[in-house]
Symmetry: C2
Subunit: 469 residues, 2 copies
């Protein structure tokens, strides 16, 4: 079938990099959690920024929407097209060069399609640290990290992806290239465009490259698991550790007893740190640029102080890197154990850290009233106020049957989030999935400004339509 548009696209990237076969396109159209598949006119894989710009101009001319795509590990259906079949998927995965490493500026310039784990490794080879760390790091891309302002386990110390980026190269919705690849710590020459493209989920333009911040590599890292009475005790422990350890505290993850029960059930080979069962646990990580000994002394004295002050029930400090890994594995296997147990209703929320004990008590009770016996699998990055607050069916109720309550459960949880001045999406973004909840919970003034910016930068509405707004 002759198609002038696709012929033009092939002329830009080469026919080998335009996929139109349904079966070959399928992996690019599927949601990561398998909830959904979209349709597309083609999947196009450009090789460089000039090709991306030419593609955007071709799409403008033909009125074809563009869905930018990275490693496809997003959790809110932000990088898959709708079912109309009108859009092209623009996969950035062939833009995967590390363009430069500048140790004296503590920066690295990378293309959007670079895999996060490859960037971490390149930083490590240069004796530095790129601190972004998250479960999908083996396949997610820096372009996706930036477009979703990815969070992960080190935000407490290093910030979100937005704070880890000093410069961007972007193909605008007009098909122009904006070279904003600065590696500057201070730059007050106008509006914060970089910050705007970061987290915009591809709705304002296509990020093609970035300058990332690097940090000195830690000389010592130490991990401990602390047993706790309650989320309130976890908060007290967090404050104690912040005050004593400052920037050395690089991880603070909360998990409930039920989380470790699930891991014990589905991954019985993983060693459990305590003989007794405790209501809650905190996984604590310290990093030191000085030495292993410094990290160890600091962690032991701080955890010791916590036990003395009655801010912890018990504690296990890892004495080998294998033990540290085992403790982190418990945390990382919670979502896997959940998946093995059956589907549940997930929430990626954040709250003012000080309100988390009250939020959990309030929302657990509200859910118990509405769905007696439902099970809360609560864990997350307490140091950032970010909870993965997941609701599983009461014992004896089927997982699929319980999923029918998804909208009602979401409403209870998100209404509580709004009441506690929190966020309905802490680190995953909005995508197509939370668009209706965003419209329901965000202030009209803020939504109005977001729409005005979208119309200003993408007046034709061709960039990732149906996402966020």
């Amino acid at each position: 079938m002759a198609d002038a548009f696709l012929t033009g696209v092939e002329a830009i990237v080469g026919a080998a990099h335009v996929i139109t076969d349904e079966a070959d396109m399928a992996p690019f159209l599927a949601d990561w959690r398998g909830r959904y598949s979209g349709r597309a006119r083609a999947v196009v894989l450009p090789r460089d920024t000039a090709q991306v710009a030419a593609l955007v101009r071709a799409c403008i001319d033909a009125g074809v929407p563009i869905v930018p795509q990275g490693g496809r590990t997003g959790l809110v259906m932000g990088s898959v097209p709708d079912t109309s079949g009108h859009a092209i998927v623009l996969s950035l995965r062939r833009l995967n060069r590390i363009r430069a490493i500048d140790p004296a500026n503590r920066t690295m310039t990378v293309e959007a399609g670079c895999i996060l784990a490859d960037i971490q490794a390149a930083a490590h080879t240069a004796g530095m640290l790129y601190p972004l760390s998250l479960a999908a790091e083996g396949s997610c891309t820096v372009g996706g990290n930036l477009s979703t302002n990815a969070g992960g386990t080190a935000v407490l110390r290093y910030g979100n992806t937005r704070e880890l980026c000093l410069g961007l190269e972007v193909v605008t919705a007009q098909g122009a290239v904006w070279d904003g690849l600065h590696g500057l710590r201070k730059d007050n020459t106008g509006y914060a465009l970089r910050y705007l493209f970061i987290g915009a989920e591809g709705t304002l333009g296509v990020i093609t490259a970035a300058v990332l911040k690097l940090y000195p590599a830690p000389q010592g890292m130490l991990t401990a698991m602390v047993a706790l009475d309650s989320p309130r005790q976890a908060l007290t422990l967090l404050n104690l550790l912040q005050a004593r350890c400052g920037a050395a505290l690089t991880g603070f993850e909360l998990m409930s007893a039920l989380c470790l029960d699930l891991v014990a059930t589905w991954f019985p080979a993983l060693p459990q740190p305590f003989a007794a069962r405790h209501p809650h646990y905190a996984l604590v990580e310290l990093s030191s640029t000085e030495s292993d000994l410094h990290a160890q002394a600091l962690l032991e004295s701080s955890v010791g102080a916590a036990l003395e002050q009655g801010v912890a029930r018990d504690a296990v400090v890892a004495t080998s890197s294998q033990q540290a890994l085992d403790l982190w594995r418990l945390r990382e296997h919670i979502p896997l154990a959940q998946a093995a147990a059956g589907k549940n209703i997930k929430h990626d929320i954040s709250l003012p850290i000080s309100t988390i004990p009250d939020f959990i008590a309030h929302t657990d009770a509200a859910l118990e009233r509405a769905f007696p016996g439902c099970q809360l699998v609560t864990f997350g990055h307490l140091g950032d106020g970010n909870l993965h607050y997941n609701v599983a069916p009461p014992p004896g109720v089927g997982h699929d049957a319980f999923l029918a309550n998804q909208d009602a459960v979401n409403r209870i949880v998100h209404d509580a989030v709004v009441a506690f001045a929190g966020s309905i999406s802490a680190e995953h973004g909005i995508g197509a999935m939370k668009r209706a909840e965003l419209a329901r919970t965000k202030s009209p003034v803020e939504l109005g400004m977001m729409r005005a910016i979208k119309a200003a930068l993408d007046p034709l509405g061709i960039m990732n339509p149906g996402k966020i707004l």
Copy 2:
């Protein structure tokens, strides 16, 4: 003289808070450095956010532009009106309440007119640190800090003001109130509006309140002055200290011999740390959340390593808080000594840190060729790549006569900045002063996006016209 607009304004804020007398208005219309005075229809001092919103709506109805103003310590004529006399000055200084301090969330909610030093003191009283620190802290306001994305001496560790803010309250250019006063570390629910208003210099709306990040108060701080051969050696020292001290390194200021000579001439009472004269100096500050002893041991071992490795000529570690203060005073008195010596041509620039030695060599030489004998008074926040690169006349040439070369000097310096991928305004902003240089040096693609955003959020163009764009 009857004036329906001013009558309406008086009805909003009370007649006592509307200044129209020329003499009474004068201090609100004058540039901080005394280069310029604007004119205004009135200076209006609202008391709260609702009054600000009502004022904006009254200005929309009457077509009157608004110049938001804080502590009037800006250096680029960003908060003073033009000479047309059409605008009102909207002073935020009566919005000066600290609304809340939440130690467990490590946040403070403050109004735009709060003085920075008062916020620092309130944080200190709560056992925390608000790390923003700059010369004007006794009179600048948080609204001005936010609107100019102020930098200062602690950016190396804590970031610019943009990184120190978690939430904003803004009166939009439509006179609506956006309540974005969240205290969240992670929030991925749409476009980064907060980041956009921060640094917009009042051209997109009026910031009325903010949630600021607090940090654990350091338990120990130590300061040293290190004598150096060259900017290149300073860079090597910076990297050595970053690697060994990590986040404990909270200050790294570079200054040339000429800077300390000027201070010695004009402030002979200030003690000078070295008997010998050295080509360059670095002021180094370490902070520890652990103890004074920890900071001291770390600084002494790190500076010792630098001396051993030949990365420093000499070093003085302050052994008392008075000595530390004396070292900082030398740094702080550089601009005062410059002012006493006579007017010079100032630049607030930033560069990739790794390029600074080459930039200085290149630009010093270019200026020497154009203005033989001119004197470079170079100092600044090397840890952030931010130089105050000031050009004084050759010996024997009058300061006022030399100022006639300002445009030519600016062009040489800014062209070099662009060639080295730097910024022509690191921390002061654009205001009215650097508007033409911005238009000359910024990419048309970026300027186009900035104009589109301005038109989208302030379609009537009433917010601080003639600034930035």
